[in-house]
């Protein structure tokens, strides 16, 4: 048996480290299972869209087919969009619980639709997920503390330190060997179940390797902290207390303080103000000459300006035009709102450089496409799709083309990848 095998045997006989390693592995597996279950529920919900949707659209088509009115088709048709979970989403569910991953939109004003949420239980969201990111960021450091707080001090307290250090392969090399072995086992307890889960979920090799490295780096930070604390040659119990206090600060207290600081220093005008302004802008159209609305619309969209002038009757092209005018009138606020959200996320990234707990969490959600940026990208896709929808319906409305049952098959479909 070589030295490593001896250390392994020694570790195997110790109750606390083995219990800790077993528990960490169990928690990792549980978190992965819960994450995969959640993600597959989300996939099921997304794959159930077409069935529900076709039922809904068929009813609309039945009604529209009698009038052939493209405006009514645009008004009554809801078009689904969705944000499929990335292969890695199971590991870090991020914001997918509080932000919708399915949203239906109409060709009307988008700013009144895009901030809608989906149904979720806020108490469960408040608690947070038990996903792999949680096990790594919150729990793994506690296991590092359990396994590393007494590597040297424990031997000192047992009266073996001198004798071990007097042996040719004892001393620093021995502590390093023991630390490395424990680190490898902790890493394995986290990474091996993850690799299996990632394999099942079809994650490609690159991200798997990256997360394996992230796990190692995050563990190494805590191991380094434990090594630093042990240099003060305090008792095992003092080491454990100091490390647990550091954990409390780094994982629990400082992120909440940073959140308060970020929200105070990076003000974001409430989204509600956009909604209020948008609604005023849209409804104002009923009180101003319809020609004003159309002039403004044509100025921005000359491609439709050749359309016939409005008659005395209600025409949906006017209705949709003032909805689009409404969207365009709040564009600066929308832009500022989004920029505010992005700078809050950027500020959190900066905090992540200083706080490894925050950094690891943000890296994981970033890789898993479950962070705020991913939500904003989904909104971008919705916007692009909405634009296609408008163009599609405008083609009928501004040219006064009939919209029959067959035309429902021509409606643009959301492409979740672009």
């Amino acid at each position: 048996m070589n030295l490593w095998a001896h250390e392994f045997r020694l570790l195997m006989r110790q109750r606390l480290p083995m219990a800790a390693l077993a528990l960490l592995t169990i928690l990792t597996v549980a978190s992965l299972a819960l994450g995969i279950a959640e993600v597959s529920r989300q996939r099921d919900a997304i794959s159930a869209i077409p069935a529900a949707q076709s039922q809904d659209i068929a009813a609309v088509a039945d009604y529209i087919d009698s009038t052939k009115d493209a405006g009514s088709a645009a008004y009554y048709s809801y078009h689904p969009t969705w944000d499929s979970p990335s292969p890695l989403a199971f590991a870090a569910l991020g914001m997918r619980d509080v932000s919708p991953y399915i949203l239906r939109v109409r060709a009307l004003g988008l700013e009144a639709q895009i901030y809608d949420g989906d149904t979720f239980n806020p108490e469960l969201a408040l608690t947070g997920h038990l996903d792999f990111a949680f096990v790594l960021v919150f729990l793994a450091p506690l296991f590092v503390i359990a396994l590393f707080h007494d590597i040297v001090s424990g031997e000192r307290e047992a009266g073996r330190q001198r004798m071990l250090e007097a042996l040719p392969h004892g001393g620093t090399a021995l502590w390093q060997r023991r630390g490395a072995l424990r680190l490898i086992l902790l890493w394995a307890g986290l990474a091996l179940p993850f690799v299996v889960a990632a394999g099942l979920e079809g994650v490609s090799v690159g991200p798997i390797l990256a997360i394996g490295a992230l796990i190692a780096a995050y563990l190494l930070f805590w191991v380094g902290l434990a090594a630093l604390v042990s240099r003060f040659r305090r008792s095992s119990v003092a080491n454990a207390a100091i490390l647990a206090a550091a954990w409390l600060l780094l994982v629990l207290v400082l992120p909440t303080l940073a959140n308060v600081a970020i929200n105070a220093t990076v003000p974001v005008h409430q989204g509600a103000e956009i909604a209020l302004a948008h609604r005023e802008e849209v409804n104002r159209a009923w009180d101003i000459p319809r020609e004003d609305t159309m002039r403004r619309f044509y100025a921005h969209h000359p491609e439709w300006s050749g359309s016939a002038p409005l008659g005395p009757d209600f025409h949906y092209k006017w209705y949709l035009a003032f909805h689009q005018n409404g969207d365009e009138s709040v564009a600066p606020q929308v832009h500022a709102y989004r920029a505010g959200l992005e700078s809050r996320e950027a500020a959190a990234r900066t905090v992540g450089i200083l706080l490894p707990s925050v950094g690891a969490q943000m890296l994981l959600t970033q890789m898993a496409n479950t962070d705020l940026s991913a939500q904003l990208r989904y909104q971008d896709r919705i916007r692009a799709f909405h634009k296609r929808l408008r163009t599609f319906y405008y083609g009928y409305l501004f040219n006064d083309l009939p919209f029959g049952r067959k035309d429902f098959d021509r409606v643009p479909e959301f492409d979740s990848r672009t």
């Binding site: 959640e38 009144a112 901030y115 095992s236 005395p312 009757d313 925050v358």
Partner: protein, 479 residues
Amino acid sequence: MSVVTLVARDELRMMVRNRVAMIGLALLMLLTLTAVLSAWMYQRGVSELRARHAHAAESTFDAQPDRHPHRMVHYGSFIFRPLGPLAAFDPGVDAFTGSSMFLEGHRQNTANFGDVRQSSPLIRFGQLTPAFILQAVAPLLLVFLGYGSLARETERGTLRMLILQGVARGKIVTGKLLALGLVALIAGMPAMIGLAAIAVRQDTPALPVLTIAAGYAAYLALWAVLIVLISAWVRRSRDALLVLVAIWAVSTILLPRAAAGLADAEIPLANRLQTDVAIGRDLRAIGDSHNPDDPHFAAFKRSVLDRYGVSRIEDLPINYKGVVALEGERLTSSLFDHYAAKSFAAQARQNAMVDLAGLLSPAIALRAMSMAAAGTDLDGHRRFLEQAEAYRYALVQRLNSMQAQDVSYLDDMATDPGADRRKRVSAANWQEIPDFRFAAPDGATLTAAALPSLIMVLAWLAVALAMLALVTRKLGLRR
């Protein structure tokens, strides 16, 4: 001086000499004060902002010109959920639910713009509030201060010496408990001062404040007992520390998430798309108001004509379009209520499952108690949504009635150039419509909701005390 006070004084002296522990305690108090202030300012800021938005929305509604009532049905109303005063102590789910809602006819919109989607992503690490400090941070500090209280004495053999000198075991344990209890009191003090500052505000109900104070006092007392219990149980202080940190991590960090994760997996919620499609399907099953041959609406038309003893809708003394709008809104609204109730029932079942986990973790029970008493739990949000829906329905039906009463059917159907003018009703009508006022639950309601969880926390305390009594009897006997 009695033995108990002697032991307590000795233990306190030990803690005071522990510089790291004292710094920790001071930091905790500082942190709590920061939390009290920040939560207070947040509650103030949010309340004012929402009140301002609500006021702005109300004035624009009142300032609408003469309109066709149905235009106002679509103009709708923007309402904002007010934040109760106790949210400054425990904001609960406030940040995780939308705080503003657009109310309009035929549709039930979601509450939007929750802080969780507008705040920095760090919000998922937790919010710095007095409740968070007392639930999560304070117990761990007590662990650091108290893990060695008896284990240290066992380890060094001083405990045996005390017992051999005839000091009753119960008195030693009581003394240690007293000392740690005192520290718990000090640790909880800043948060309680913050609570008191909230309590003196006029709009704060007294009973929930007392419930919250009692609940947190019991919770911290529970931790003090638990710490002394474990310290008495194990032989080495290191083991006491590790066991206590493990208990803390499992009960306050792991179990809440595990319970939430299981509840989420076990009890699925219908998503909005499925609900909307289902409501559409149910509506079609009842009847299609667009279809002249639809049996439901044909029968409805028959009944209206019969009621007024006429044979044509043009002969009705009221506007038939308004009557149909009233009927349509009644139908959709009943379906909204039905599906919302279903969704809330599922969420309540999820929460009940989490509450059950309070049997395994006192932190879960305490959190439920705290949010329920502060009115910031799911029920609080549900109250808002239900009142919002009731208001929406009343508003829309009032406008529909206006259409039925004040706009003639012939005008409503006319398309001549002057018709638009004739269809409108006076702007004075909008000002007469009452604004949305959230009816906050009274103190008794909140307290009643918090009571089951409070009892669970107290039961935990009782069990821990009983176990401590058992362990005390065997103190010093184990090797």
